[in-house]
């Protein structure tokens, strides 16, 4: 049962592009409070470029879609989020089995590989008020759902919920990584922009898989 194929991958990334574009102002506002106010513009620019790549390409395998998307983010975004999200997508793509499609367990493993890439590159631990605080819970929820026999829509919805909870839970935290860390205690009381965009990305997966 080909849960995860090229069509799903491209649909997810297009939905992600729509989501970060629609909420670019929100992301920028969050980033203005504790960063430099470019997170929305960064992701909009990056995912717009991803969509252009999707439009102009044929993909041999589902993994390829993510690898190309990741490379595009790395080439177009800059800042902290470009390499982090770019590396995550590349790692996801590389962890997927070669070929047209993959199953749910493959996707769970790939999402985990993406998280590992983010953690390795950025060195952030849970609670540092970063992407990791939304991505970590999302992967864990996805794995649990898959282990419990859930189908993709249910697993994706659970991951999105966990990412949202994780993003909201960053609000009281004091940042230890990224630009927000320069604010010290003053970073507390604001939701992390990167964790918020991670939530948008998982919500996009939930939306495109919803029955």
């Amino acid at each position: 049962m080909p849960d995860v194929d090229v069509a799903l991958a491209t649909a997810w990334l297009r939905a992600a592009a729509d989501a970060v574009t629609a909420d670019a102002d929100l992301l920028t506002r969050l980033d203005s409070a504790i960063g430099d106010g470019d997170h929305g513009a960064n992701l909009r620019r990056g995912f717009t470029a991803v969509v252009a790549v999707l439009d102009g390409s044929e993909f041999a395998g589902v993994g390829d879609v993510f690898v190309r998307a990741g490379a595009t983010l790395i080439s177009k975004v800059g800042g902290a989020s470009g390499p982090l999200y770019g590396s995550a997508l590349r790692a996801i793509g590389k962890a997927l089995p070669p070929g047209e499609s993959a199953d749910l367990a493959d996707l769970a493993r790939a999402l985990r590989a993406g998280l590992d890439a983010v953690s390795k590159l950025g060195g952030a631990a849970p609670g540092d008020k970063t992407i990791v605080d939304a991505y970590g819970p999302a992967v864990a929820a996805f794995e649990d759902a898959v282990a419990g026999g859930a189908a993709l829509p249910e697993a994706a919805a659970g991951a999105a919920r966990a990412a949202g909870d994780g993003a909201r839970a960053t609000t009281p935290l004091t940042a230890r990584k990224g630009r927000a860390s320069y604010l010290g205690e003053r970073s507390a009381g604001h939701q992390d922009p990167g964790a918020t965009s991670t939530w948008l990305l998982f919500q996009a997966l939930a939306d495109v898989t919803a029955p």
């Binding site: 504790i34 430099d36 177009k76």
Partner: protein
């Protein structure tokens, strides 16, 4: 938002076109590769210096490209570090076979993007040494956090390491003196107003008419804390206390001082502040042997300033005095 721009999305590309038009013969702008380099690059046998970072800090870095300083600069989007492709393209364009030094301000994004580019460059046979600049003493140093920001000291690192490269220093030597300059530097900044990025379209923060942000960086972010505005002489004293505590300077040591405007502060005020700095450092027995007062490492239109103090050796002073010919810094040439 009121700015002299066309479309906010085109600001960096159009400013690059302006830089290209303004410095024919001195600079070459690669619009596809998105970097600025010396017109005479690559210089065979010379260690090349490449820096870069988000745009909005001009003249840093593009204004410091030229003989005696940088070989290339990679401007990212406003306040957004450049991407690895750019940095790789610039690195290859200026490599003269003696290796390339990346001067990187310590921000997560800059560090990661430059690191990726360095790995790609290594794959293509170019040896890269990285000099990380992290002089802003307003931020605690810690291995658990992103650490200190790179700010005003970047100019000193680029000038002094650039001079050594120009006179034939080897890769390891150029990187080493860059790191020494960074270690010997401390900076502290105040903001009176927030800047406005073209993308955000509104100031990064609001500040009451009698308050200032203390311990800000150069990306429009709020500072470590908010305080009431105080007379310049008090602010200078507090900043120097913070700098000298983090980077002690002994009686009789010689230093270079940079009083740097963040973009919206009149030169008149910067000079007034330099006068206060000179007074306080004289009281403490510190000898200012060179100094620079002006807008060099800016944060768009932010009204604010940073003070950098770098303890220097005679060799560093000699390299500081060496000829430099760039749009933003020029002497002896």
């Amino acid at each position: 938002m009121k700015k002299f721009i066309n479309d906010p999305n085109d600001v960096v590309a159009e400013a690059l076109a302006g830089i290209a038009a303004a410095h024919p013969g001195d600079l070459r702008v690669d619009t596809a590769g998105q970097y600025i380099c010396r017109a005479d690059a690559p210089r065979s046998g010379k260690v090349a210096l490449v820096s870069g970072g988000g745009s909005g800090h001009e003249p840093l870095h593009g204004g410091f490209v030229g003989p005696g300083m940088l070989d290339a600069a990679c401007p990212g989007e406003v306040f957004t570090s450049p991407v690895p492709d750019q940095i790789l393209a610039a690195t290859k364009a200026v490599d003269g076979g003696a290796g390339v030094v990346h001067v990187v301000k310590n921000y997560t994004g800059d560090v990661m993007n430059f690191q990726m580019a360095a790995e790609l460059a290594a794959d293509e046979g170019v040896t890269v040494e990285t000099v990380l600049v992290d002089d802003d003493v307003a931020v605690e140093n810690s291995t658990w956090t992103a650490g200190r920001r790179g700010t005003g000291a970047t100019l000193l690192v680029e000038k002094i390491a650039g001079a050594l490269a120009e006179e034939g220093g080897k890769l390891a030597e150029v990187a080493a003196i860059g790191r020494e300059v960074n270690t010997a530097s401390g900076s502290f900044a105040y903001a009176l107003t927030a800047g406005t990025t073209p993308a955000a379209g509104r100031p990064g923060f609001d500040l009451p008419d009698d308050e200032i942000e203390v311990g800000v960086g150069i990306h429009g972010e709020p500072g470590r804390r908010r305080e009431k505005l105080r007379p310049a002489r008090d602010l200078v004293r507090s900043a120097l206390d913070a700098i000298l505590e983090a980077k002690p300077v002994a009686d009789g040591d010689q230093v270079i001082v940079l009083v740097n405007g963040l973009g919206g502060t009149p030169l008149l005020e910067l000079y007034l502040v330099y006068g206060e700095v000179a007074t306080v450092l004289a009281e403490r027995g510190v000898r200012i042997v060179r100094r620079l007062v002006g807008n060099y490492v800016t944060s768009l239109d932010m009204a604010g300033l940073s003070i950098t103090v770098t303890r220097v050796t005679d060799e560093m002073v000699r390299l500081w005095d060496a000829p430099v010919r760039t749009p933003g810094l020029r002497w002896g040439a």
